[in-house]
Amino acid sequence: MPVPPSDLKQVGTIAKFESEFENWKSMAGNISLIGLASVIVTIMLILAPSRPPTAEIFSGTFLFPVFLFIPLAAIFFAGNNVTSEFESKTGYIIFSNPVKRSVLVTGKFLASLLYVFWAIIIFYIGCIVSTFYLYGVVPQSILSSFGFALLYGCAVLGFVFLFGSMFGNGMIAGTLSFLILFLVMPLLQSFLVEMGHEPWYLLTYAAGSINAFGGTSMPGTTTIFGMKPYLGLPNPILSAIVILIYFVVLFGLSIFAFKRKDML
């Protein structure tokens, strides 16, 4: 009788299986879309009547869609990943194996993370190439921005996985994540900022560090429903801690929910 491998090895096996391109055409399509988005942003910035004066501001402007783009990538890539076992009933096969559910959800999370990281990397490559092409330099702060984007990707995936594990439905998981990240949190954030209170504890506020380049903050110049979403620049260290806490707590809760969910 074979002995099941360690949890870590099983996580690796699951992550590998889940991240293998089940449908090359669809994956290639997704990656092409990200590349295309990157090219469109570059063209728009080149054709803009006034080009940003510095490479930092240009990069910050270029990366502004990352806010929109990371949650969308997470929802599209991960929404079905975590819920597929319940929705398509493949759980009848996989759950009856000698694998802990925490191991399963971790493997799936890693696979989804890989997709989201790929999307982020492609977009940042677009940013670096166009910034270098136009200004001849690449701001160093793009590295910290990249780090924040990856962290934000983890936290956003945490939301998608939590709702996916709770409801076992990709559509619900995606919609709830979308509502929280694009409506509830930004509105609450803008409202609190209007009141003069810095909502450093909100994920969307902390994620503003993605666009904080060279002492300027692109999000600070935008408005949501006529309200400013930022009160100065988010503190980067505090932001990193906040995003990390969101990730750890949400991921922990999604494991808990996944373990308790009945495979009916």
């Binding site: 009788m1 074979p2 002995v3 099941p4 491998p5 949890d7 099983q10 096996t13 699951i14 299986f17 089940e22 449908n23 398509s88 009933k89 493949t90 759980g91 009848y92 096969i93 996989i94 759950f95 009856s96 194996n97 000698p98 694998v99 802990k100 559910r101 191991v103 308790r260 009945d262 495979m263 009916l264």
Partner: protein
Amino acid sequence: MEVITTENLTKKYGSLLALDNLNLRIRQGRCVGLLGPNGAGKSTTIKLLCGLIRPSKGRAYINGIDPASDPKDALRDVGCLIEVPIFYRNRTPLEILYYLGRLRGLKFPELRERARECLELVRLSQWSKTKVKKFSLGMVQRLGIAQAILHDPSILILDEPALGLDPRGIRHVRDMTKELVRQGKTVIFSSHMLYETREICDTVALINRGRLLAYDRIENLEKIFNIRMVEIETVRPLSVHQLEKIKRLKPVRSVVNGGNGGNIIKINFDGDRNTCAELHAELVTNVGAKIISFKPSVGALEEVYLQLVQE
């Protein structure tokens, strides 16, 4: 040694009581048929044993380990087939078996060999590299059986394994299950088909409305319910005179026509296996019946079922 035990196992879905204090003890090497009407609690029992759902009350143990709290250790020696399984549509049988094999601790090249053997056994070798989305229901079911036996487990939990199969497939699954039982594996076999259950299992657990109505060896149940039945096929239909003679034989309780133009009759009698042998001798010598086949009838199990499982 008991390999599967349930203690007051209970499952509620909201206000619906799907399983009510189920207590089962299954010994190693037994083949237990789970019988009951739709919604009786058979699938719930199987899902609880396989760790797919959590009990509302009570515990289940496989080799002394609770699959709800420690699925990794509890399910390592178990192969499961639950309903008609659904596989990853864009994967091939080989990819799926390699994935599940790796999770269960099989390593190459043994895994490759074992996957090939299993696919051959379920007659899917020539489709080993075809995506599952192109498979018929029966082919998916056969792949489900292949994955259940991939790691050669000593416990098999099969929920309606013949569902979706054609007559040849049903027979193949029956023969395969019988062979696994013969090899000494412990099998839980859930089915609506009494004939299959009678052919494969030595013990049955009758469940209805979540409650265990009876759990015993089939022959004991037949004895308890005083139902022992044999099905006899003769060369020619028996004459009225011959049938009267049979009815007058001491252990015989009733004789019914079993079909096939009167060539088949079913005899319900009192007694044990020796009585059965004596009955056979009487039929040949005193009644003058030219017997083609003489076998225990599923009718007895059916009678037990119908007596216990009320509408």
